[in-house]
Amino acid sequence: MTGYGEAAFVYSPRRVAAMMLRYWYLLRSSWPRLIELVYWPTVQMVTWGFLQFYIMQNAGFFARAGGTFIGAVLLWDILFRGQLGFSISFMEEMWARNIGNLMMSPLRPLEFITALMAMSVVRLSLGVIPVTVLALLFFGFNLYALGFALVAFFINLMLTSWAVGIFVTGLVLRNGLGAENLAWSIMFLFMPLTCVYYPVTTLPVWLQPVAWALPPTYVFEGMRALLIQKVFRSDLMIDALLLNAVMFTAGVIAFLKLLQSARRYGSLLQTGE
C-alpha cells in the first residue's frame, strides 16, 4: 500500500532521480530539443575550424598553435552549454507552469539543484560529444588526446557553469520569466573577460585582474599552454578549482536567499513575467 517512506529531513537521491527522470522523459519525447542540443555547437565548431584552417595556412605562429581555436570553441561550449543545460531544465518548469507543484512537494532546493546539475551534464554530453567527433573527422582535432588535462578543464568549466546557472535560476525564481534572457546571455559576459580565444596579456592591464578573478580564464590559459608549449599547468587548474569553490558556494547561497525572498514577495505565485 501507499507509504511515505522517507524521514522528513533526509536528502533523498530518489527525489533527485525523480527530477532527472522528468527531464529525461521530456528530452526523449521532443526531437526539436535533441536537435537543438547539437545544432549550435556544430555550427560554431565548423565556423571556427575553417577560420583556424585558413589562418594556419597564412601565419607561422598559428601553424604551431594548431587546434587552439577549435579547442577554445569546444571548451567554451562546455562552459556555455553547461550553464544553459542547467538553466533550461529549470526554465522548462516555468514554461510548463509546474514550478508550483514542485515547490509544494517535498523536493528540497538542494535536491533540485543536484538534479539540474546532473541534467546539465546529460544535455552537454548529448550535444558536445557528437561535435567532438565531427571536429576529429573534419579538422583532425582530437579533444580526447588532451587526456587528464581535459578532465581538469571539464571539471573546472562545469563548476563555473553550475555556479552561474544556480545564480540565474535564483534570479528567475525571484523575478519571474522577465529575467529569462539572463539565462541565455549572462555567460557571454564571460567570453571577452575569460580570454577564450586570446591570452590574458591581450587585455588592458587594468582589466587583467578581473580576468584572473574568473575560473575559466585559467582553463583557457591552461589549454593554450598545453597546445602551444606542450605543458600542463596544474597550478592554473588548482587556482581555478579554488576560485570555483568560492563561486559555487556564492551561487548556492544567492539561490537560497533569492528563494527566501521569493517566498516573502510572493514571486512563487506569479511565474509569468
Partner: protein, 272 residues
C-alpha cells in the same frame, strides 16, 4: 465544532493497557495571519483552525485574500506576521516535516504537457516518496477512470481529463490534508458532479481534511460543513452553510455571498 483532540495512541506497559489521550495538532491552524505586499494588506489578521476529517470552504471575491491564505498554508509564502501551522509544523519554516502528508490541486497549476499521465504520476510519486508506486498509479487510474489515458501525453487531454489527472497527482501520496483550488472550474456539469462525488468519497474513506477554495456556491453547499467567507483580507463570516443561510435569511449560499460581497450584512431578526 467537534473536539480537535484525537485518540491517537495505544500504549501498553506492565501488563496493563492504557489508552492515552494525546492532543493532535489541528490539520491547519492560522493565527492572526497578516501578509502585506509592499503597502497592501492581502491578508489582514485572520485566524481559524480546521477540524480533522472536515471539508471547509474558503470563499471570497477576487482579491479577498484566498490565494494568499492558501499559498501561506502550503509554505509558498512567508507571513508578514502571525503564524500558520500545518499538521503541527510551522509554515514555511518547518514545511519539509509535513509536505509529504499534504497535497494540492488547482487548474491554474499545470502538469508537464509532454509527459504521459503515467510518467507524470511516476515523477510525483517518487517526489512524495510513495512506495509501491506502480500499484498506486494503477489503483488511482482505476478509481479516477484514467486507465485508458495512462500512456497519453498530459497536454493532449480534455479539460475534464486534465482535472482528473491533477486529482490523481494530488492523491498520489494519499494525503491526510488536501487543498483544492477551484477543483471543478471549466468542467461540464456531469464531470463536475463526478469530481464532487469523488472528493466526498475520498474524505470519507481516508478521513482526510480538505480545504476547498471555490466560486461555485452549489459545490460549497454540497461539500462543505463549514464555510469561511473572506473579504478584503479579513474573515467576514465563518459558520456552517445552514447557519449562514439562517443568519442572512437567504435560501442559497450565493445570496449570502452576494450579501457579504456587497456589504449588506446579515438579517439580525432572522438570526434570532
Amino acid at each position: 465544532m467537534s473536539n480537535p483532540l484525537h485518540w491517537i495512541g495505544l500504549a501498553s506497559g506492565g501488563g496493563a493497557r492504557h489508552i492515552c489521550a494525546m492532543p493532535s495538532p489541528p490539520p491547519i491552524a492560522v493565527d492572526r495571519l497578516v501578509k502585506i505586499y509592499k503597502t497592501i494588506a492581502a491578508v489582514d489578521g485572520i485566524s481559524f483552525s480546521l477540524v480533522p476529517g472536515s471539508i471547509t470552504g474558503l470563499l471570497g471575491g477576487n482579491g479577498a485574500g484566498k490565494t494568499t491564505t492558501i499559498a501561506t498554508i502550503m509554505g509558498l509564502l512567508t507571513p508578514t506576521s502571525g503564524r500558520v501551522t500545518v499538521l503541527g509544523a510551522d509554515m514555511p519554516r518547518q514545511r519539509y516535516r509535513v509536505l509529504h502528508r499534504m497535497n494540492f490541486e488547482s487548474p491554474y497549476v499545470a502538469m508537464p504537457m509532454r509527459l504521459t499521465v503515467r510518467q507524470n504520476l511516476t515523477v510525483f510519486g517518487m517526489l512524495y516518496g510513495v512506495t509501491d508506486l506502480t500499484q498506486r498509479i494503477e489503483q488511482l487510474a482505476a478509481e479516477l477512470n484514467l486507465t485508458d489515458l495512462l500512456d497519453r501525453p498530459a497536454g493532449r487531454l480534455s479539460d475534464g481529463q486534465k482535472t482528473r489527472v491533477s486529482l490523481a497527482k494530488a492523491l498520489i501520496n494519499a494525503p491526510e490534508l488536501l487543498l483544492l483550488d477551484e477543483p471543478t472550474a471549466s468542467l461540464d456539469p456531469d464531470t463536475a458532479d463526478w469530481v464532487r462525488a469523488w472528493i466526498e468519497r475520498y474524505r470519507r474513506d481516508r478521513r482526510a481534511t480538505i480545504l476547498l477554495a471555490s466560486h461555485n456556491m452549489t459545490e460549497v453547499e454540497r461539500l462543505c460543513e463549514r464555510v469561511i467567507i473572506m473579504k478584503r483580507g479579513r474573515i467576514e463570516d465563518d459558520d456552517s452553510p445552514a447557519k449562514l443561510l439562517a443568519r442572512y435569511g437567504r435560501h442559497t449560499l450565493e445570496e449570502v455571498f452576494l450579501d457579504v460581497a456587497r456589504g449588506r450584512g446579515f438579517d439580525s431578526e432572522a438570526a434570532q
